[in-house]
Amino acid sequence: MTISHFGAVILFSLFTSVVFGITQRSDPRMMIRFGAFCFALFVGGTIAASWVMWLIKH
């Protein structure tokens, strides 16, 4: 199996956010919100860190 860096980020963020949402909140609606928040933070944080590394290199 081969996977792109971004694909790995998406899959990792998706599954991790699902478990975080379920375990860290009690109300189902809040679980979805927290899961979505974690997902956005994972993906957004990775993209931001990638740009920082690109800027450092250039």
């Binding site: 199996m1 081969t2 990792f12 599954f15 478990v19 975080f20 375990t23």
Partner: protein, 135 residues
């Protein structure tokens, strides 16, 4: 000051929460199934099984018990969190191939994180069983 602590959900047996914790660790999602949280259990199970399978497909490494470097020991502890998946992988000699691709490191991390997430899930199921977590 009075605290608003809810009563244990299942007080019929004092060993029930411990059983939920152990079963939840051994089989991802099973702790929630024991508490009749079918959707949560299924989501946890699918997530952890998928992360573990993707990790193996990416040629990730399964760590053995070791007394080597501290990071190897921590990775082993993370892997152990996968419960029966880890035992099966060791029995079937999976995750032992020599690393030939760069993405294998991603695979290793997927497996370790799947184990850590499973531990969180098992503890969550235990908290539900004791009543520490409301629902």
């Amino acid at each position: 000051m009075a605290t608003n602590v809810s009563a244990p959900v299942r007080a019929q047996s004092s060993s029930f929460p411990t059983m939920v914790l152990i079963v939840g660790w051994l089989v991802p999602g099973a702790g929630h199934f024991m508490l009749r949280k079918w959707i949560r259990g299924t989501l946890v199970m699918v997530s952890i099984f998928a992360m573990f399978a993707i990790g193996l497909a990416l040629k990730g490494k399964i760590y053995s018990p070791n007394t080597g470097e501290i990071l190897d020991i921590l990775n082993f502890v993370g892997d152990l969190g996968n419960g029966i998946l880890y035992i099966l992988a060791r029995l079937l000699d999976l995750g032992q191939a020599a690393v030939q691709v760069a993405t294998a490191d991603y695979g290793t991390k997927f497996i370790v994180v799947a184990g850590l997430l499973n531990i969180i899930s098992a503890v969550d199921a235990h908290s539900l069983a004791t009543g520490r977590k409301r629902s």
